[in-house]
């Protein structure tokens, strides 16, 4: 059963085996594993429960409803928008469905440099395979690769670069193009329509509109949480929810998970909770083409290039993706008549972005005065260099695909009319707010590792400082994972849950 604020009247207490905080890529699979093993499970989700019937596909309405802070989350200086879902299914409900295995190089780095054990690609493969079956991952079919994504592939092909269809978690895709507004047809097989209903069918209970305030622990062992169930529109507290549990799992994402731990005063002897934020800066460029593309229609993201994925070749992936004018117009340059002229040609524009493998230099701190996360992030020199390179290479790609003009993401507009102008990018500052940036993948703020002095959780997901307190979301990554993370998060979460179930006397006695 899924309960919402409208269903709650007064205070409630639950006594369960496992409480899962968050219902996204981490929380969904974890709850499913536990519920199907016969454990009593409660899932607490701060966002609302929305289904395909609620997804209007209208950009502003859906971003406002489904994203943290209506899409306005980010550092106080506004230098980057950090987009996360705040709804049942979490970011998996609003993402562009890109599915990558965790890179073996990255997993090896975690093992060699951070003391992570038992999380090799081979160790994770059983969970990866089951995840991919459940969420229906497959290589994008020809009709799922729209005109803009085909231009990405064409440009790469012309330059002799790697390019391939993306693997996506969709079934019978209608190529509506509204992937990031919630799939109105349940074709996106997100956690919302897979792991959550399967967990509920196995006996889990999910409370939406439930904001966890504190995790409780006694004598070094977690034993439950307190939450407030709030009306989605008015914010009125409908009831206080106390969940007593033998195991507590935090899966609230890399911004909220550290805030919950900080608020609770737990698990931070290392000082690492909230630190080491990486965000995969998304660097968007666009190409203007002679032919009409209507690039907002079709699978938002359908192709990619790993030509520059290795750190010594660039350190970023290039991915196609164009949205409607309300979201897509924000990344196109200029204002006034200059901007208006660009928008008149919107149906001839394709955009794509580079996902940059960045350094862990940011920070998340819970602010008790505002009750919100204070986020600090500024690209270091390496990340700035990679980002600049990605703009140049994407420009080459668009021109090779036949673009008449290329739009770069610099706030002070830099529009290129031919490939010879690309080096003008070298003269531009990459400092804060000098270019439009967006992040879809905050991570690494509650890092995993072998040394309790430099990490928060161990290789099984349990906090070094607090027994029976686990973390299972993208905050556990010791470094940026370099690829779109949803499959990695789901698989690691499932793997952690299986580890707990394999040692039940330890955790449930």
């Amino acid at each position: 059963m899924i309960l919402e604020a409208k269903d709650v009247q007064g205070d409630l207490t639950e006594d369960v085996d496992v409480v899962v905080i968050g219902s996204g890529a981490g929380g969904g699979p974890f709850a499913y594993e536990m519920a199907r093993a016969g454990k009593r499970v409660v899932i607490l989700e701060a966002g609302g429960y929305y289904t395909s019937a609620d997804f209007s596909e209208e950009e502003m309405e859906m971003v406002n409803k489904l994203y943290v802070d209506g899409g306005n989350q980010g550092p106080a200086d506004g230098s980057i928008h950090i987009l996360q879902g705040k709804c049942v299914g979490g970011s998996s409900t609003v993402n562009a469905m890109m599915c990558f295995h965790p890179p073996e190089k990255i997993l090896n780095k975690w093992a060699n440099e951070h003391g992570v054990t038992g999380l090799s690609l081979q160790d994770l493969m059983p969970a990866i395979e089951e995840v991919e079956e459940i969420i229906h991952v497959h290589e994008a079919l020809p009709h799922e690769i729209n005109a803009a994504n085909r231009l990405v592939m064409k440009g790469c092909e012309e330059l002799g670069w790697h390019n391939a269809p993306l693997r996506r978690n969709t079934k019978e895709c209608l190529v509506s193009g509204s992937c990031m507004m919630g799939c109105a047809f349940d074709r996106k097989r997100s956690v919302l329509v897979t792991f959550v209903p399967m967990a509920v069918e196995a006996g889990a209970r999910l409370y939406a509109d439930a904001e966890v305030q504190t995790i409780h622990a006694k004598e070094g062992r977690a034993n439950g949480v307190s939450a407030l169930v709030k009306d989605r529109d008015s914010g009125e507290v409908k009831g206080r929810l106390t969940v007593n549990a033998k195991v507590v799992v935090v899966c609230a994402g890399a911004i909220q998970t550290p805030c919950i731990l900080q608020r609770s005063g737990l698990a931070n002897s290392s000082g690492m909770v909230g630190r080491n934020l990486a965000v995969h800066p998304g660097i968007v460029t666009g190409g203007l083409f002679e032919q009409q593309l209507n690039a907002w229609r079709g699978g938002v993201c359908g192709s990619y290039s790993a030509e520059f994925a290795d750190d010594d070749k660039g350190g970023y992936y290039i991915e196609g993706g164009t949205m409607g004018p309300a979201m897509g117009g924000q990344v196109l340059p200029g204002f006034g008549e200059e901007f208006r002229e660009i928008m008149r040609q919107y149906s001839h524009i394709a955009t794509g972005n580079a996902i940059v493998h960045d350094s862990c230099v940011g920070k998340v701190t819970y602010n008790p005065d505002t009750g919100r996360a204070d986020i600090e992030y500024e690209m270091d020199e390496d990340t700035a260099r990679r980002s600049r390179d990605s703009i140049k290479q994407m420009a080459r790609m668009w021109f090779a695909a036949g673009a008449k003009r290329v739009y770069t993401p610099f706030v002070d507009p830099l529009v290129l009319d031919n490939v010879d102008e690309i080096d003008r990018i070298d003269g531009r500052s990459m400092g804060p707010n000098q270019l439009s940036m967006v992040s879809y993948h905050p991570q690494a703020t509650v890092r995993m590792g072998g040394d309790p002095r430099t990490s928060v959780i161990d290789s099984k997901g349990e906090c070094h400082d607090v027994r029976n307190l686990f973390v299972a979301d993208a905050s556990i990554f010791p470094t940026s994972i370099a690829v779109n993370p949803q499959v990695s998060v789901m698989a690691i979460s499932m793997h952690f849950a299986r580890g707990i179930l394999a040692d039940q006397d330890r955790y449930f006695s």
Binding site: V16, D77, G336, V411
Partner: protein, 229 residues
């Protein structure tokens, strides 16, 4: 228009306001400027023509003027920001859901934009009373500034303006956008697939709404609830 749009002024403002907390301090700056000057028109803002939920009439007027300057609908078939009622829609449907501190920062930003022409342009008029050309020149100074503060402010204004305007169906034909998929198909929209179940076989079985308490069901209120494995 005479201009104080020089690097010394910008450096001073940038240093004083600071990048990370600029909006908090910008509120003081805007208030200080507004109260310390005898700018004409400071208290005279037109009625928004609609009942406002979040914005004051002054804030509405500022944001509308900013959005018109940024969007610049000038060609045939290009409705104005006012004609598509973008700012009314924003005020009624989006701003009420913004976190309080984000909304407060945004209102401070609007005040700063309105009253800062005297700082950056040497202009005695607030933004809303500048000519269209001077409005564009003023915002151009923000966009091209070498200082992070003004760029930050410009980006925030552009994002809000673009989102608000192009969220309105009346704006879509001007950019060749044919609207969301459901919008196009209407009653011919395909049925949703449904949610996965554990009962094996084809996951296109269940209605997502089946997971909710039935409509009209009793609210949940209990001292202790346990549920069976």
């Amino acid at each position: 228009m005479g201009s104080l749009n020089d690097t010394s002024t910008e450096a001073m403002v940038e240093d004083w306001l600071g990048r990370r907390s600029f909006l908090k301090r910008a509120m003081f700056t805007a208030s200080a400027i507004a109260s310390a000057t005898m700018l004409p028109g400071c208290g005279n803002y037109p009625d928004a023509g609609a009942a406002l939920r979040v914005l004051s009439a002054k804030e509405f007027a500022i944001l509308q003027a900013v959005a018109e300057t940024i969007i610049a609908p000038t060609g045939p078939g290009e409705p104005s920001v006012a004609q598509v009622r973008a700012i009314e829609h924003l005020d009624q449907n989006v701003l009420p859901k913004m976190p309080a501190n984000v909304l407060s920062d945004f209102k401070s930003l609007l005040l700063t934009v309105e009253h800062a022409p005297i700082l950056f342009e040497g202009a005695l008029s607030p933004f809303t009373e500048l000519s269209d050309a001077d409005k564009a020149s003023y915002l151009d100074g923000f966009m091209r500034s070498q200082y992070t503060l003004r760029k930050t402010m410009f980006q925030a204004l552009k994002v809000v303006s673009v989102t608000a305007y192009f969220a309105m169906p009346a704006s879509w034909s001007s950019v060749g956008y044919n609207g969301p998929f459901k919008w196009q198909l209407g009653d011919a929209s395909p049925r949703p697939l449904g949610i996965s179940t554990l009962k094996g076989g084809d996951p296109s079985m269940a209605n997502p709404g089946a997971l909710r308490i039935p409509s009209g069901g009793e609210p949940v209120s209990a001292a202790v609830e346990t549920h069976d494995s």
